[in-house]
């Protein structure tokens, strides 16, 4: 495995075409990382809120969260991307401008809502539904007795969540959450359909002008693999460390 990787890397670093492609694609790495990090942070925040809502005492809140999760989980990410970019965003801008006109504020244009952010929001919406399920499973894995004990100690809701529920739930939550993060690195490639200049889009642009499809996509795949394999190794270590601290 390592030998194969080293061989591929050596091939890439000693070939003029590969080097040229790598040089072009370098600029996309930062965009891919930015889209993934920001998108995941938004998705995790939204997912946590959704999980809390779906476990809430209020029926309306529970039903709304379930409805959102079911609907979003059933829509492919690429459809969400196109929908957010070309339907939702222009409608949102038109709506804002309607209000702005009444309030006498400066109107904005569709382009003031950059495609990069539309892509990030679409990814965040799509992933928030998956992450909500991860959080819900983690929160439900906690023994009732723990919560009753915390109530008996007189901890308020926030402190119960912070000191009792969250530290225990994170152990159940972390592995699937890590998997979702790695999946998002890969799915961030879909933002290329909106012309966002990530690794994949730069790969498409490069292949369309140098006609070297094989080499270009080898480099694209290699960059993604480097990121995903590195992440997987880090996640495994983190999980091991958490297990050790649990065993003590």
């Amino acid at each position: 495995m390592l030998g194969l990787g080293a061989y591929a890397l050596w091939q890439v670093l000693t070939d003029a075409v590969y080097l040229q492609v790598l040089d072009t694609l370098r600029r996309g790495v930062l965009i891919t990382i930015f889209v993934t990090l920001v998108g995941f942070a938004l998705a995790a925040s939204l997912g946590l809120l959704l999980a809390l809502a779906s476990l809430s005492r209020h029926l309306i809140l529970r039903q709304m969260a379930r409805f959102y999760i079911e609907i979003i989980r059933g829509i492919p990410i690429i459809v969400l991307l196109l929908y957010v970019a070309f339907v939702f965003a222009p409608a949102l801008v038109a709506g804002y401008n309607g209000l702005a006109e009444m309030a006498g504020v400066e109107a904005i244009r569709t382009r003031d809502f950059p495609l990069l952010w539309r892509a990030i929001i679409a990814l965040a919406i799509g992933y928030s539904a998956f992450i909500a399920e991860v959080f819900r499973a983690g929160l439900q894995s906690i023994d009732r007795g723990q919560i009753e004990a915390a109530e008996a100690l007189g901890l308020n809701r926030w402190n119960r969540f912070r000191h009792i529920i969250f530290p225990q739930a994170i152990r159940t939550i972390l592995p699937p959450l890590g998997n979702d993060f790695v999946a998002m690195v890969k799915d961030s490639s879909l933002v290329s359909v909106l012309g966002v200049l990530d690794i994949t889009q730069l790969g498409k642009v490069t292949a369309a002008s140098n006609f070297r499809y094989f080499e270009t996509y080898n480099v694209v795949a290699l960059i993604y693999l480097t990121m995903t394999i590195t992440l997987s190794i880090l996640l495994r270590r983190l999980e091991q460390r958490m297990r050790q601290s649990q065993d003590r």
Partner: protein
Amino acid sequence: MKHLLAATALLAATAICATAQDLPDLEGREVVIVTENAYPPLQFVDPATGDAIGWEYDAMAEIAERLNMAVTYQNISWDAMIPAVSEGQYDMGMTGITIREDRAELVDFSDPYMVSQMRMLVRADETRFDDAEGFAADEELLLGTQAGITPFYVGVYEVLDGDEANPRIVLLETIPAAVQALLSDDVDMVLSDSAGGEAYVNANPDRLKLVGAPLGTEEFGFIFPKGSDLVAPVNAAIAAMRADGTLDMLDQRWFVDYSLGQ
């Protein structure tokens, strides 16, 4: 319309009689053609029926009939098309491909079957510019296009400053997507060949218009793997169709009579 169709059928029938003897017979040979279906009215998917239709499909059906070949179609995205045909994965590629030297190093082109000029497609209420210089001068204005196609190169080298990474260029997946971005005020101009541009304006007369003088002339050709023995017969068929008025008839059918989105 009925008269036109009858006249066309008659024209086609006489044309076939007149040219069948001098064109090569490929004896039912199977030819796999790859297209992108993102270039109305040359080849696109009819929203009403879901069928792929257009000028090129009609032209190719006519060529296939005259040369006695059996064509089947496959789809591929534009960035993969030239490499795939170059490697011989398909026998032919057709998607309004401009004949360019750098492409001719990888694939063989047929003779041109269409000449087109690049025009600037803008929103109907556009007043800030009406030519390429005016567009280039205003830093605010954005150009929507697709990577690696002729409108992209014309936009970079003839309208803007020759920098392919110019931030004023917004790259979208296809030209229809770029036109969508133009309508939603994400970009201010899309370069389109006159054929496609007129089709878009006819489909949205109150939302789009063409402005400025034509920017350069391009010729479209079919592409083949290097050294393909199909080039000569297809060229003969194109020449015959030009001589007997079939190409003019197709222009009339797809650029004048047909309107998109109806």
